[in-house]
Amino acid sequence: MSDSNEMRAATIAVLVENEAGVLARVIGLFSGRGYNIESLTVAAVDEARRLSRITIVTTGTEMVIEQIKAQLDRLVPVHKVSDLTLDGPHLTRELALIKVVGKGEHRVEALRLADAFRARVVDATTESFIFEMTGNAEKIDAFCALMRPIGLAEVSRTGAVAMARGPAGLAA
């Protein structure tokens, strides 16, 4: 463990029992102990074994991040905690729906930029588009920033999901 008081980001994958209250336990831990949550996603990933996977993006000093992992790991319904940031190369993806409202030249510009960002049009009216895009948070941030002067009306984002690269899996 480094002595540094520097903050770092951590993407933490948590395999948990898919049962009532488990998300409240995790969120309560973060609010009760004053940890940051940048994003948190959860969904069932294995119906047969009743497992859900939670992905948490957080920031803190090394000591705080170690605490977060230890605190998560001691929750009774938690099977596995993995610090993807520390464990090696990993992928992070987020899904966003972005509504842009505008007419004339703004519509053309919106479509052109969407094409460059590989965003798909999933809904269109004569004065609006909804774009769907996936990517890391920075890419979505950049796209939203470009859309703002054009007519950004609404954004809905999932928060990050993440996975380590390579053949190894996150076993329960």
């Binding site: 463990m1 002595d3 209250g21 409240a24 605490q67 790991d73 001691r74 009774v76 319904p77 099977h79």
Partner: protein, 600 residues
């Protein structure tokens, strides 16, 4: 349960949910439940009525039920069991649950709940018990299917007692208690839980690293806490063996008193905010610190940046989240305290290095010098009873009588004086609210201890303010003929509040005077007990002896010096070497920085 079914169906459902709960408790070895009935748990009370295996103790307030279960658990090493109703029954229990969580005490608390179809409807006596108790427990359950009932009860006991122990709540909707439910046996002890698997055995490589550090130490200290007590009496025996093997000084936290014999020359006394001069200076000056089962609590460390600044630290804890939480350590060892000490003994023998006896002798000479300050010295002169003297005499008289003695306390000055002046030779004899600091803990805890040890002498060392927080339990004592002794150090102040106001707030004693106190002698009598009072130093011994001799609940109202403060004291925000030793020391208030004033 005479369940001889005539039908061919496998596993015929012959028991109600309530009966399944009781059967599971019995199979878990439960002998006593502390509880209070109400609408939602009537089916369990009906089942209790129809059996004799488990005894129910009717408390007078649900908070007291949990503290009684804690007292029972801490004095026996078993899981304490609580039964309360829904809504207010559950919310009243919350303070007790948090108390057990902070002090790592194994408790299973059954709460009634409105029937499943009414959950969420704001029904009568409904509360979101699992929501409210989630941060108040190690784990909690809401049983929504009869099929889960027996498994959940068994699992709750496993979770409460294993790893770092703690309270577990099982919320039981009334329909689940009435509906027929299947019974399943507890899983075999060696069958691992799906997700919860605390590490018990230490990593030997880490243990050897620790021993190498200890062997090379010139100024070592062994600092142990409640984890050693929780690991069972054999862990305390191993600790004593290890400390004597090494020749190192040993200090205990408030929670850890009794793990190492008080009378042993290697014992430095308690450390921390009101610890001894020698214990705190040893902590401050040590070069290698071995922490076993303590958590570097702020009451122990004082100012973190000045805590044991020159030491290498070894931290043994069953809870990985305790490690590097407050204090960064050099050698962490995760595991059960008893197993770790056994491993340390083994590794100490295997390691051929000879410890530096010369350095150690010099260290002991230094320690003896610090001891020479006699930091717990007080002067008892005149007729006004010094509170320290009252505890000291209580200790000496009980020692002289040789009775098996258990001490509980409330919270405040009297608690610290009890920790300082009552010596414990064995573990599980000392029950105090350390982490949460719950006033009103001592009387119900003593009740639980007395239930577990009917022939022992059980004394609640109390203050006149704290005792009023659960005074209703005098009625429980009377009902079950529990001869608990309440020893009140009565200074007519919330003493610790007053002490801080004196030290930090210019002597403005805002709301800390205990006005309109009851006559404790008459109060004892009205609760079918015996009341007595000592007003002068000459009365003290006689009252203590009479109190002990009476085989009934007693309140002894000891009228003590109102102005006495608790020393030594490390003011909040200060370091171990910045102790205030007594009232004569100059510049007491000036020692507390603004940074310190915001701390509690």
């Amino acid at each position: 349960m005479s369940a001889t079914s005539q039908h061919a169906e496998p596993a015929a459902l012959t028991m109600s949910g309530a009966e399944v709960v009781l059967r599971a408790l019995k199979d878990q070895g439960v002998e006593v439940i502390f509880g209070y009935p109400g609408g939602a748990v009537l089916p369990i009370y009906d089942a209790i009525f129809q059996q004799n295996a488990i005894r129910h103790i009717l408390v007078r307030h649900e908070q007291a039920a949990v503290h009684a279960a804690e007292g029972y658990a801490r004095s026996t090493g078993k899981v304490g069991v609580v039964l309360v109703t829904s809504g207010p029954g559950a919310t009243n229990a919350v303070t007790g649950l948090v108390d057990a969580l902070m002090d790592s005490i194994p408790v299973v608390c059954l709460t009634g709940q409105v029937p499943t179809h009414l959950i969420g409807n704001d029904a009568f006596q409904e509360a979101d018990t699992t929501g409210i108790t989630r941060p108040a427990t190690k784990h909690n359950y809401l049983v929504k299917k009869s099929g889960d009932l027996a498994r959940v009860v068994h699992e709750a006991f496993h979770v409460a007692r294993s790893g770092r122990p703690g309270p577990v709540v099982i919320d039981l909707p009334k329909d689940i208690l009435i509906t027929k439910a299947p019974y399943v046996e507890a899983p075999p002890a060696d069958q691992p839980h799906r997700s919860y698997r605390p590490q018990v055995e230490p990593d030997m490589a880490q243990v050897r690293k620790a021993v190498a550090l200890l062997k090379a130490a010139k100024k070592p200290v062994i600092y142990t806490g409640g984890g050693v007590i929780n690991a069972g009496p054999q862990a305390s025996e191993l600790l004593t063996k290890f400390v004597r093997m090494t020749g190192f000084p040993c200090t205990n936290t408030l929670m850890g008193l009794g793990a190492f014999p008080h009378s042993d020359p290697q014992f430095l006394g308690m450390l921390g905010m009101h610890g001894t001069y020698e214990a705190n200076l040893v902590m401050h000056g040590c070069d290698v610190m071995l922490n076993i089962g303590a958590r570097f609590d702020d009451r122990v460390t004082g100012k973190l940046s000045h805590f044991a600044p020159t030491s290498k630290k070894i931290h043994c804890d069953i809870d990985p989240s305790s490690i590097n939480k407050n204090v960064k350590v050099d050698v962490p060892i995760v595991g059960d305290a008893g197993r770790i000490i056994a491993a340390l003994i083994e590794a100490w023998k295997e390691d051929a290095t000879q410890p530096d006896r010369e350095a150690l002798a010099a260290w002991w000479r230094q320690i003896d010098q610090w001891r020479g300050r006699d930091c717990l010295r007080y002067t008892q002169k005149g007729s006004i009873i010094k509170p320290q003297h009252a505890v000291k005499r209580l200790f000496e008289i009980t020692k002289e009588l040789g009775k098996e003695t258990f001490i509980t306390t409330e919270v405040g000055q009297h608690q610290m004086w009890a920790a300082q002046y009552f010596g414990f030779e064995k573990p599980n004899r000392w029950m105090t609210s350390g982490g949460l600091g719950t006033m009103g803990y001592g009387l119900p805890a003593a009740m639980g201890v007395q239930i577990a040890h009917p022939d022992a002498l059980v004394i609640d060392i109390a203050g006149e303010a704290s005792i009023l927080m659960n005074i209703q339990e005098m009625s429980t004592l009377a009902q079950y003929r529990l001869p608990v002794k309440v020893f009140i150090l009565n200074n007519e102040y919330m003493g610790m509040v007053r002490q801080w106001q004196e030290l930090l707030h210019g002597g403005r004693y805002s709301e800390s005077y205990s006005a309109a106190l009851p006559d404790f002698v008459k109060l004892a009598e009205s609760f079918h007990g015996v009341g007595m009072r000592a007003e002068t130093a000459d009365d003290l011994d006689r009252v203590i002896r009479e109190m002990i001799a009476i085989d009934r609940p007693v309140i002894a109202d000891i009228v003590v010096d109102q102005k006495e403060n608790c020393f030594p004291m490390i003011p909040s925000g200060a370091a171990h070497n910045e102790m205030i030793l007594g009232p004569d020391q100059e510049g007491n208030a000036a020692m507390v920085t603004d940074e310190g004033k915001v701390l509690v």
